[in-house]
Symmetry: C2
Subunit: 292 residues, 2 copies
């Protein structure tokens, strides 16, 4: 982060100005000043801090695990979602978010019964070897540079910065420090149910309710921090509830087909709300000098 | 906290020595050194950080609320737990932890449907006026001084210090900063279910699972921090699972009938485990120079 320009990888424009002006207003003496203890910032992860196309990194992680499970136990190939993996049924997999019971079964049974530490190790091993299917770089290099710069700016201004991901809390935690300089205890997200026995914590085959998406995001943020965010960033309809609770809301718009991906599927309501509620929109095409 | 003696209100003895030696070992270069990021400390609240006798402060808060609800709607007096309050049935109330369905009904219906902010206000108003029934001082003055000193020592040594209460997270949060210098986002505890709508977060009539007691404590600590504690403090059987996961476990023993209360009901298993597992026991009678 440059001292002269803390958002050097952002083009000058309304988004950059609005962010810098808000941070100045809440940190400098004056009517807008906010005490350090109340400076909470929360960011969605998939599509907001790192690239989520052509598939969520966690989906890649799961597909590999399901393939591994089919190899170990071919009987599994008769049942979804393992069947789709065994048969390379791309259409079924592309539509997986609409196959909720099968998806949940696949998610909860991918790693049930192991300790949280063993899961942590499996995630670490994935990130050490897996590469983004289009860019060919490790997923750990697929964070958006301008957003990382924004996180650093907020931390430098004494914000407590949290990641608030609809994806797996215990998945994101493994790389949050390296990718974003966000410590493990500042990662909020969805999780499987857990069970304590004999000195250790085990994953069990359920999903913690609510999941950390849509109206679940402000609930997760409250239970974890006891506050509503002062600053929040998202990119999709599932982030709208969180953005509604924030004093400053930033919506990342994926409109750069050349350098990343252009899509507004799953973000149309949020983009409309941005207009009606005056949220700040960061166009990846117009506001980001660099992407990764 | 005195620079020469950071635990000045503890008598010299095995508990004080063990604590100081452990903190020294994990913070000084050497084989026992633990990086700052991994220095997590977790403390139970009722009976560990503040006085829980003759009743939990939160029980006092609830009894007042139930009385208020009976006044507003006398029909409630026909149903437990409001009936016991209306009839001043001390025996029923003393046994309330064994009346689980009625207790849960009373807890969840005491403040359901209001915003988390309105609940926060109600708790604040309670602490501003309520007094400890025996000592006659505000509950905010019923924290154990030597334990507060210990929290300060750990914070000064770069521990992330969390409260992990079987009682209500949103109850303890209101006074954690004032009583313990622990910020809101470092309070873990049991909670009612919550719901987001129209920009605000509302309490609903359920209990988040698991509650933050017994085996639920290590689970809550993991979901909130992604770690097991390096240092943990408790005083009861419900804290044993948390203590089992910690490198250093401290068990507060209530054996001072003169200055506080002497009781081991609800702590006998933990006291036996302290012996078999080598946990450090802090005797309030022998180790604490002052209590409040």
């Amino acid at each position: 982060m440059s001292v002269e320009d803390p958002l050097a990888s952002w083009h000058d424009g309304p988004a950059k100005s609005a962010i810098l002006e808000f941070v100045r207003a809440v940190t400098q003496p004056g009517t807008g000043f906010v005490p350090v203890a109340e400076r909470l910032a929360t960011f969605d992860n998939d599509g907001t801090l790192w690239c989520e196309k052509p598939m969520y990194p966690q989906a890649d992680f799961l597909l590999r695990r399901w393939a591994e499970q089919v190899s170990a136990d071919p009987v599994k190939a008769s049942e979804q979602p393992w069947k789709a993996v065994a048969e390379r049924d791309e259409a079924w997999l592309a539509d997986i978010l609409n196959q909720m019971p099968d998806l949940i079964k696949g998610v909860t049974l991918a790693y049930d019964g192991i300790t949280t530490q063993a899961f942590d190790d499996a995630v670490r091993s994935f990130f050490e070897t897996a590469e983004h299917p289009v860019f060919g770089t490790p997923y750990t290099q697929c964070a958006f540079g301008p957003m990382r710069e924004l996180l650093d700016l907020l931390v430098a201004n004494d914000f407590a910065v949290y990641i608030c991901s609809a994806g797996g809390r215990d998945f994101v935690r493994v790389v949050a420090e390296e990718m974003y300089a966000i410590p493990r205890d500042r990662v909020i997200g969805s999780g499987t149910t857990l069970e304590y026995r004999d000195g250790d914590i085990y994953r069990t085959a359920g999903i913690e309710q609510p999941i950390d998406d849509g109206p679940g995001k402000p609930v997760h943020i409250w239970t974890r921090t006891g506050r509503k965010p002062l600053f929040a960033g998202g990119n999709a309809d599932g982030d709208a509830a969180m953005l509604e609770t924030a004093r400053f809301a930033l919506l990342v718009k994926h409109d750069d087909a050349e350098r990343e991906f252009a899509y507004d599927n799953g973000a149309r309501k949020a983009l409309a709300q941005a207009v009606s509620r005056g949220w700040t929109v960061a166009s990846m095409k117009d506001d980001f000098k660099t992407i990764f």
